[in-house]
């Protein structure tokens, strides 16, 4: 895995292709919230003729302003992968195709970010919220929350005197998918 600074992304990818890695495999994005305040764009390309290991390139983008050059001029197949990342993570590909790929034009939100809460689960009463021996979940007792739903004190029912929860806090509360910092 090679880390590439955002400014050098397009030139590095172009150089990699020229070096013989002309088979585009995939382009993905990882939300590294909780570990670094970044999105990590990952590109995997192969050199089929040389029977070598595939090349994986990483580019770390700041989470509050994720912009990166498009590589669809180098690998045409990357265009769809970039469109998917753009609509699901909210990453901007400079010079890229800005059309939606999978989501409806009216869809709002960036669902694959880890601080995006799954509204359907949060809105519905969880059958498992009841305790053994209950017919209706009692309001006063502290209830279990299911995976995917953040703690009410963090997101759904937060004390109004407190500021809004940090994205990392919401992501951590919603299901533990967030990775801890290594200290």
């Amino acid at each position: 895995m090679i880390d590439v600074p955002p400014k050098e992304w397009l030139s590095t990818v172009d150089a990699v292709r020229t070096a013989g890695f002309d088979y585009f495999d995939w382009l993905g994005c990882v939300d590294e919230i909780g570990r670094r305040d970044c999105f990590r764009i990952v590109l995997l390309v192969r050199n089929l003729a040389a029977k070598a290991e595939p090349m994986m390139l990483n580019c770390w983008l700041p989470r509050d302003d994720p912009r990166i050059d498009t590589v669809r001029t180098v690998y045409a197949g990357a265009a769809w992968h970039e469109r998917e990342i753009a609509e699901l993570f909210g990453v901007e590909f400079v010079g890229g195709d800005s059309r939606r790929l999978l989501l409806n034009p009216e869809f709002e939100g960036t669902p694959l970010r880890k601080d995006e809460v799954l509204a359907a689960r949060t809105g519905l009463d969880w059958p498992g919220a009841k305790e053994p021996g209950e017919t209706a979940a009692s309001a006063n007792r502290r209830r279990m929350v299911p995976p995917g739903v953040p703690d009410a004190a963090v997101w759904g029912d937060r004390d109004e005197s407190q500021p809004a929860a940090e994205p990392a806090e919401v992501a951590e509360s919603a299901g533990g998918r967030i990775r801890r910092r290594r200290t």
Binding site: L124, W126, P127, G128, K130, E131, P132, G133, E134, T135, M144, P146
Partner: protein, 111 residues
């Protein structure tokens, strides 16, 4: 070569074994199990023994329109109160008809 009899087609509740512990409802990834229960005091204790209660199951329902037949509920039940059977789950004319109530309402539970 003969194929084995199909067995993982429907899930059945063994009501006497269920203690309303809620584990199946909590582990179900599709949220398709609904359980209602209440507590009742245990009768016939020795004189001077502290009061004990037990759970009485009132309602156990699986919404088959959501169930993905993963079998987590069957695996997780600590009392083996759920089992796979080989009959096919019945279709229905509405999605509400696919909610199967597995506890018969009786005098005791409808208090």
């Amino acid at each position: 070569m003969s194929l084995p009899e199909p067995s993982h087609r429907w899930i059945r509740l063994i009501e006497p074994a269920c203690t309303s512990c809620m584990i199946c409802a909590r582990e179900c990834p599709s949220w398709c199990i609904s359980i209602d229960s209440h507590t009742e005091p245990v009768e016939g204790l020795l004189a001077g023994a502290r009061e004990r209660t037990r759970n009485v199951l009132e309602r156990f329902a699986i919404d088959w329109s959501l169930c993905m037949y993963c079998g987590i509920c069957v695996d997780e039940c600590p009392y083996d109160a759920l089992e796979w059977v080989g009959d096919v789950t019945q279709p229905g004319s509405s999605s509400a008809a696919l909610v199967e109530e597995m506890v018969e309402k009786s005098e005791a539970t409808s208090r």
